[in-house]
């Protein structure tokens, strides 16, 4: 509900193919205001919440981020994945204006973070690395600090947010007495105070215990589903990304390596005609391999490439020949395997 009304009120639409190539970066400067975008860009798809346009960051002679062009679509949990030192944090710092951009532009809701910082950042809530708070203040006093800095955040909103992250009465205790999990919750609370359209989290699961990670995941899902907030989350933990994100962009060595939709890749693998590795656990794996025409035998399992129809056919074949089938498991190539393959490739290029 909230999500769709958001689309209508923003009223600004563009196609994702509108990202300006790096050669035209300079000209992007004067087309960053949304009314003009409205006028020039074709209707039909909505304005991405974040547009990276040929973003480059150099420190000295070292190129940290190399010509990054990427659109973050609305209402998604968007993962930003890469090994340590790949430029994730640098990208996030440029996104929230903590670091300057050497060349290129970052637009948030169509507002350029470089030229319209106040307007652009007002739409963003973020935790950059750890949620560091004023330890000598209570959680509530910390939230008041940020509430005073954003228009339209009243006491009512603060209690809403405190309730959402479940800090309860501990909010009145000094932050120095908080556990890491509670600090993370307070961090999420400060990021949500001003109802941002975009929530940016840098390595949010660092140092959290499994319960804390699960809570965080639930918050993010709830936010994206119920409030239509777009979540941009960076991590080097693939398993986490798989559970949290709809879309994942993979970065390595400062370059964008791949963008993929997680739901799409997994459903496609279930479709007919797509072969994947299937493991049959049986009492006679050698016989099964003989009947099924090849495959790999190890222990009590027999593994073979098959699509959906073939799985059913093979199962019937085994059962009809008196082989007991205990389990049939598809072996999916995980995101992790793909990720490792991609990042290794990236390294070879350098």
């Amino acid at each position: 509900m909230d999500h769709s009304s958001t689309r209508n009120t923003s009223g600004t639409e563009t196609s994702s193919s509108s990202s300006v190539p790096s050669a035209n970066v300079k000209s992007a400067d004067h087309m960053d205001s949304s009314p003009r975008l409205d006028a020039i860009l074709p209707a039909g798809s909505e304005l991405p919440v974040v547009q990276f346009r040929g973003v480059t960051k150099k420190i000295g002679s070292k190129t940290i981020i190399d010509n990054l062009t990427l659109d973050v679509p609305r209402g998604r949990v968007f993962g930003f994945l890469g090994p340590n030192g790949s430029g994730k944090t640098t990208t996030i710092r440029m996104l929230v204006g903590l670091m300057s951009i050497t060349s290129g532009d970052i637009l948030i809701e169509g507002q350029n973070i470089r030229t319209h910082f106040e307007e652009a950042i007002a739409k963003v809530g973020a935790i950059v690395e750890n949620p560091e708070m004023y330890k000598y203040m209570s959680g509530y006093q910390n939230l008041m600090q940020y509430a005073r800095m954003s228009p339209g955040v009243d006491k009512q909103r603060i209690s809403e947010v405190v309730q959402f992250v479940g800090l309860g009465n501990r909010i009145y205790d000094k932050v120095s007495t908080y556990s890491l999990g509670m600090r993370q919750r307070l961090g999420v609370a400060q990021a949500l105070l001003h109802r941002p359209r975009l929530l940016v989290l840098d390595e949010p699961t660092n140092g959290l215990d499994p319960q804390g990670i699960r809570e965080l995941r639930d918050y993010l899902r709830a936010l994206s589903r119920e409030e239509g907030t777009t979540v941009f989350v960076s991590s080097h933990l693939l398993s986490e990304m798989e559970l949290m994100c709809d879309t994942v962009a993979v970065i390595n060595g400062g370059r964008l390596v791949d963008v993929r939709h997680l739901d799409a890749s997994t459903t496609a693998a279930d479709g007919a005609g797509v072969k994947m590795m299937i493991r049959f656990e049986t009492d006679q794996p050698e016989l099964a391999a003989q009947l099924g025409g090849g495959g790999l035998v190890s222990g009590s399992s027999w593994t073979i490439a098959a699509d959906r129809q073939e799985i059913a056919r093979l199962n019937a074949l085994l059962v009809n020949n008196g082989i007991a089938v205990y389990s049939i498991t598809p072996i999916r190539e995980t995101l992790e395997d793909q990720f490792l393959a991609m990042t290794r490739e990236g390294e070879r290029h350098e």
Binding site: R93, E118, N130, Y134, Q141, S150
Partner: protein, 258 residues
């Protein structure tokens, strides 16, 4: 856009919600009157007003404590990492910096007024012999004494504030600021003793020799006889602008990597 006053209020809370600040304040209240107690014990007969003026020797406490707070103002946020959450609010960096400087200037003012209150009360308690009213004949001179000392504290605080923004290290900022303060106090009499009059152009532009404006209460041409109150105020203004420009550049133009 929310009110700029809210920003200054935030910065003041960051100073006054800390236990360490209150320890400084208690220190100031306890130690400022020691000079008066010593004079009282050695049987000086002074008027309360004279006693207050004498007590300004202890004003260095205000300067020292101001330097501590000023040094921590920017650097402390970098040390704890809170700077990252502070700078991602819909406020331009220079406005945040300005709110921080105002909070430091106000803190120095609070210390100055607290100092005045404490030494006035103790002076009247220990030296009640004087019949003169609190700000009797020399009301003007006491006000000037307070103002000149405050200007000096403020300028040193802005120096510490600049170092805080430049080095992003509280320890380094405190050390260098206190060094400038004490070295200035030592070098000025040395210059007075050994510097040849033909080289007096140095003292005209040297910060420490212009810092102490109370020198013009004794001699309108200053300690060296070559400056005036107007000249010194101008020199201090130039230094102040330089300190502010460096703070501004450090705070607004550089990347945050903390």
């Amino acid at each position: 856009m929310s009110d700029f006053v809210q920003l200054v209020w935030n910065e003041m809370l960051k100073i006054y919600l800390r236990v360490s600040t209150w320890i400084l304040l208690i220190f100031l209240v306890v130690i400022s009157p020691t000079m008066l107690l010593l004079m009282h014990m050695s049987g000086y007969s002074l008027g309360a007003h004279q006693a207050i003026e004498q007590s300004f020797t202890m004003y260095f406490l205000v300067i020292l404590f101001s330097l501590i707070i000023a040094s921590d103002s920017v650097a402390g946020e970098f040390a704890t990492g809170t700077i990252k959450l502070l700078l991602i609010r819909p406020w331009k960096r220079w406005k945040i910096l300005f709110s921080k400087f105002l909070s430091v200037a106000l803190f120095t003012l609070v210390l100055t007024l607290l100092f005045l209150l404490v030494i006035s009360v103790i002076s009247y308690m220990l030296f009640p012999s004087s019949s003169s009213a609190l700000f009797g004949d020399s009301e003007g001179s006491l006000f000037l004494l307070l103002l000149y000392n405050y200007i000096r504290a403020l300028l040193l605080a802005s120096f510490a504030f600049m170092l805080s923004a430049l080095f992003r290290s509280t320890a380094l900022a405190i050390t260098l600021a206190i060094l400038l303060y004490f070295a200035g106090n030592i070098i000025t009499p040395l210059l007075h003793a050994f510097l040849q009059p033909k080289d007096y152009w140095i003292v005209k532009i040297f910060l420490p020799t212009n810092l102490d404006l109370t020198q013009y209460m004794k001699n309108p041409n200053g300690l060296f006889g070559v400056t005036s109150i107007g000249w010194s105020l101008m020199v201090l203004a130039v230094y102040f602008v330089i300190f502010m420009l460096i703070s501004w550049w450090s705070f607004t133009k550089r990347d945050v990597k903390a």
